[in-house]
Symmetry: D2
Subunit: 337 residues, 4 copies
Amino acid sequence: MARTADTAWLDKSIAAKRGTGWGDKARLHELTEATQGKYLYTIGPYSDPVLSVTPGDRIRVETRDAFEGAIRNESDKPTERLRMPFVNPQNGPIMIEGAEPGDAIAVHIESMVPRGQNPCGTCCMIPYFGALTGTSLTATLHDPLPELTRKIHVDEHKVRWSERVTLPYSPHIGTLSTSPEIDSINSLTPDNHGGNMDLPDMGPGSITYLPVRVPGARLFIGDAHACQGDGELCGTAVEYPSTTTIRVDLIKGWTLDWPRLEREDFIMAIGSARPLEDATRIAYRELVLWMEAEYGFNRWDAYMMLSQCGKVRLGNFVDPKYTVGAAIPKKYLAPAS
Amino acid sequence: MARTADTAWLDKSIAAKRGTGWGDKARLHELTEATQGKYLYTIGPYSDPVLSVTPGDRIRVETRDAFEGAIRNESDKPTERLRMPFVNPQNGPIMIEGAEPGDAIAVHIESMVPRGQNPCGTCCMIPYFGALTGTSLTATLHDPLPELTRKIHVDEHKVRWSERVTLPYSPHIGTLSTSPEIDSINSLTPDNHGGNMDLPDMGPGSITYLPVRVPGARLFIGDAHACQGDGELCGTAVEYPSTTTIRVDLIKGWTLDWPRLEREDFIMAIGSARPLEDATRIAYRELVLWMEAEYGFNRWDAYMMLSQCGKVRLGNFVDPKYTVGAAIPKKYLAPAS
Amino acid sequence: MARTADTAWLDKSIAAKRGTGWGDKARLHELTEATQGKYLYTIGPYSDPVLSVTPGDRIRVETRDAFEGAIRNESDKPTERLRMPFVNPQNGPIMIEGAEPGDAIAVHIESMVPRGQNPCGTCCMIPYFGALTGTSLTATLHDPLPELTRKIHVDEHKVRWSERVTLPYSPHIGTLSTSPEIDSINSLTPDNHGGNMDLPDMGPGSITYLPVRVPGARLFIGDAHACQGDGELCGTAVEYPSTTTIRVDLIKGWTLDWPRLEREDFIMAIGSARPLEDATRIAYRELVLWMEAEYGFNRWDAYMMLSQCGKVRLGNFVDPKYTVGAAIPKKYLAPAS
Amino acid sequence: MARTADTAWLDKSIAAKRGTGWGDKARLHELTEATQGKYLYTIGPYSDPVLSVTPGDRIRVETRDAFEGAIRNESDKPTERLRMPFVNPQNGPIMIEGAEPGDAIAVHIESMVPRGQNPCGTCCMIPYFGALTGTSLTATLHDPLPELTRKIHVDEHKVRWSERVTLPYSPHIGTLSTSPEIDSINSLTPDNHGGNMDLPDMGPGSITYLPVRVPGARLFIGDAHACQGDGELCGTAVEYPSTTTIRVDLIKGWTLDWPRLEREDFIMAIGSARPLEDATRIAYRELVLWMEAEYGFNRWDAYMMLSQCGKVRLGNFVDPKYTVGAAIPKKYLAPAS
C-alpha cells in the first residue's frame, strides 16, 4: 500500500519492524453483515470462525451499532428494545494464520466510514448504567435516572449533537479483542484480552497490539463510536454502524500481558480493572516495563520520568471494568545522541 | 432423609417450603474422580455434562484441591507446579432436571470429609497473589514476596497448622456455581453466578441458592477448604481434597440476581465485585430487597434496621473479584406477633 | 478496683502488663455536660483542654448523641435541624499526664448507661449519606432517598426498634481519638488517630489503644451507639446520649501507627481508609506485624495463619473513610508448649 | 494591567464578569521567604495571617520546594532529610478583604519563575510513596522500592531530565487552598478546599476558583512543579522553588462545593477522593451542574453530551486523596445561535 504523509510513520511502527506480513501485497477481505451472519456477544474460544486471513491482509468490516440497530427513534426505550447481555454485537472471530500463543497481533485501523441512513448515531441513558448513577455493582436504593434516547446525524465530518452543538467526527473502535485462553467474556467487559476498552485513541491512524492466547488469535471487532468523551460518562458514546477497514499483522514471540497501542506520536499501554486506580496502575506499570525492555531505560529512570511526562487517557469508567491508557510521546524515547 | 436435631431446621428452610423435590426419596449419585474425568477451570455453558440429577437427589462428590494435587511437599514451588489459569479444578457440570432460566437451585451441603493421605492440606504463598502484596491488578514494581508452601495434617476434627497452633476443622466449599448465560468464567473469579466466593459459611449445614440462567442450571463445585479466615488473607486457605455430599433442589420461578445462603439461624445475601465497598453494597441491597419481598418489611425500615443488626462476612479480598455476605439473624425476621 | 469474673482478664491485658497506672487507686473524674461546656466537632491540637487526669484514673463522661439532641421527634428532618460539619459532638480534650509522642494510651470502657428521657435513641436517613445511596463522594445525579427519622426506646437491656423487632442493648463508643500532630480532623472522619470508627467491639469490656502524637495525648470521646450492625448501613446507628465510664492508662514507648483494640478473647488491629480493601489491608498488615513483634510469630507464618483464622469486623462503610478491624483469638497466640 | 494577546481572554473570564476587583489598579504585594517566616504544613483556620490583600491585588510569592530545600544533592536520602508530616511547605495564609463564607475567590496565576541556583529541581522516590508501590494505605508486606534522588536543571525554557531527555518547562502550582471551616488539613491532602491537587493545568494562564468557608478566605499556596506528568506517578514532580505571581479576586455569592478552574479554552471542575472513580464522579457531576446552572444546558443533555466531548485530566493518584479534573472546551458552551 502506498504511504501518504499521514501514514508514512507506519513504516517505522513496531508492526513494520517486527511483523511478518506488513508488506505491499495486502489482500482485501470483506466481512459484511451477510458474511458475518450472527453477531456475537461473548469473546472466547467457543465460537465458529467467520474468516481466515494471512498476516498483512486487510479486512473491510461492517460493524453494527452497540444496540444492534434496535434503537430506531427517540421514543424507543432501551429497556424495551434490549435484553442483557445481548448488546454490543461483535464481528468475528477472524483467524490469523500462523498466530500461536505467545505471539501478538497488530491491528491497524485504516478508516471508519458511517453506514446506513441518518440519523445513524444513537446515544442512550440506560437505567442503572453510566458513571453518575447507581449501577448493578455500585448498588444503591435509588430510582433510576430518566431513560432517554438521542438519535444523531453522523457523517464523515461532523456529529450533529443538537441544534446548539456540533462535534467533530472522531471515529474509533470501542471493542477490539483476541480470545482468552479458556474463558469467554461478554463484549461489555474489557480485560487483558482487549474487549470493551472505549479508548478514543483507537481510531484511524492507530495500531493496537493484542496478545495471542489461542491458535489463530481469534480477532473480534465491533462497537464503533463517531465520537466519545473521556470516560464515556453516561455509559454510551455516539454509537453507529460503520464500515471499518483494518489491516492485521502478526508479531511472532512478542508476549503481551495487556493490550498496547501505537500512533504516530506516542505509545500507550492499556489496563482495565476496578477500582480505577488499579486500571491506571496496570497501564503505567506496563509502560515502565515496555520502556525498560525496548527503549533502553533503566526501570527507575522510566518510573520517575513518567512522573514528569506521562499522559493518561481515561477510556471508560462505566463498563464492568474501567479502562485507562498510559502514554509517552515518542520524542522522549529517542536514544541518547 | 431422617432429620437429626442439627438438621431439623431444614424442614423449615426456604428450599423445603418452595422447592420441588426436597422429600424423602433422595437418590444418591456418586461423582468420583473417575466419573468426573477431566476437571474444569472455567464455568460456563460450553462444557459437557458429567451427571444429571432429579431435584431432591444427593450427590457425593470427590473434589480435588485447588492445586489439583500438584503441590505435594513443602519444597514444591507453586510457580514450578502450576500454570495459570489451570488452577481451582471444578467438578461438573451437573444438570438439574427441570431447571430453566428464571428458577433457582438450592444446594444443601450435608457433609465434607477429607480424602487422601495426610498431610492432605496445602497452603501456599504464590507470587503476586494475596491481600498484602502487589498483584496483577494492584500493579506495583515490587519484587514478589517469598514463595512458600505449607503441608498440613487435616482430619475431621482438626487442622494442625503448626507445632504451636491447631485450628478446628471448619470445612466449606470455596467455589460453587451455576452457569452464566453466554459467558464462561474462570474458576478463580466469583460473580453473580456464584464462583470462587470463599465464604466460610458455605459448609455443612448451609443451603446456597444459585440463579438458573441456562437449561439444566449446570452446577459446578470444587475448592474445598478445611478452614479459612475472613478474607483468605494470603490468597489460599487450607486447600484439601474432599468427599463432599450435597443435596440439590429446584425452586421454580425464584429469580435471583445474586447467590444467597441460608443456615439455621440466619439468611445471607452475597455480592462479588471490586472495589470491596461495591461487593458490600450489592450484598446489603440484595438483603434489603429480600426482606421487603419475602418478610414483609418496608424497604426503608429494612435499610435502617440492618444499620443496627446486619452482619457482614468477608469471604475473600484476594480473588479477581472480592466476595462479601450480608446477613440477618432469622429471629429478627419473625412476623409481628 | 476489684475484679469480677467478667473483668479478671483485665489484669492480664496489655494495659496491665505495660501500663504505668493501672492500679487500685483510681480517682474518678466527672466530665458532665456542664463541665464540658462547648462540645467539639474537630479533633486536633488547637482546642482547650477540659480535664487533666493521671494514668489509671477513671472518668465518667456525659456524651451527647451524634445530633447533639437536635432531632427530638420523628417529624424532625435532619436537613432542617443539622448543619454540617456541626455533628457528632465530642467530649474533650482530656489531657493524660506524662503522655508524650511515641507513647500509647489505653482506654478501657467500663460501662455505658443511657441518659435522658425515652425515646432517647435516634436513627435517621440523611440525604446523600449512607451506604446504599449516592453521596457527596460517590457522586451521582440521583434525587435523594427519603429523609426519615426514627425515635427509639433504649434502656440497659433492650433497644425497641419497632413493634415487630426488639434488639439487644449492645452499647459502644463510635468515636474515640487522640490528637493528630498538626491536623485537626472533623469528628465524622476516622483515620490513624482513631476518630469515627463505629466499631461495635468498642464497648464495655474493651480496651482501645491509641497513639500519642502530641504532649498529653488529648483524648476525645463521643458518639455512643445503643447498637449498630456491621457497616452502619444507613449511615446512623441507634444514636443516644450516654454516661460512659472509662479508665485511662499510659503505655510509655509503645509507638502505634494505627489504633488497636483488646477484649478478653481477642486482639484487633484497626484500619480506616478508602477504598474498603485498603482499610482491610491496613488492619491485617498491622495485625501481622503485631503478631511478629509481640507474640513471636514469623512474619510469613502469621500472614498464612491469618488466612486460616483471621476475623474481620466491618465498622462502617459510610463515613468519609471506612473502618475495618482485623482480629485473632487470643487462644491462637499462646506460646508453643 | 495591560492585556497581551495571551491574556486578552481574561477580560471575558468568569472572574472578570463576576468579580469585584479585577480592574486596572492592582497593587503588588511581596510575600518573600522573609515575610513568610515559618512555612506551614497544615491548611486551616488556626494559623496567623501573613498578608492581607484587596480583591484585584497581585502577590509575588516565594514558594519553597516540596522538601523545603532539604534535599540538596543526589546522595541525600528523603528518609534521612524529611520528617512527616513536615513536607510540602505552604505560603500563607493570605487574607482576602471582604471574603465571607459562601463567596468564591479567583486566583489567576500570572507567571512562575525558578528561584535559586541550579540544579534547583528535585525528584525523589520515597519509600512506600508513589503509584506503583505499596503505601501506608495500600498496605503490603513488601520491602520498599529503592530510595532515589534526582537533581535537575530547571530554567524558564527547559527541564533537563537526563543526558538523554529534555522536557519543556511547564510550570504549575501543586497546592492551592482556602481554609476549611473548622478542620486543618495537612498540605499533602487535597479535598474540597483545594489542597495538593497536582494538576498540570494550574499554571500560568489559569484561574482557579476556590470556595470561601471562613472570613477572609485564608489563601495558601505552595508546591511549584517545573513539570509533571498525568498522575505524578512516582509521587513527586520536578519540585522546585519558584517566584510565583498571582492575582486574586473575590466573587461574592458564588458558592462552590469543589474547586474549579478556567483557562482560555476550557472550564474544568475538580474532585479529590478515593477510590479514583469517586474523584472522577465528583468532577463530572460538578461539571454537569455547572453547565446546567450557568450555560443553559438541560441536565441530561449536559450529562449525555459530556459522554461525547468531556476531557479528563488525572492530577495525582499518589496523594492521600486522588485528584481529577473534568473539562469541556468553551467552544461547546456557546449559546445556540
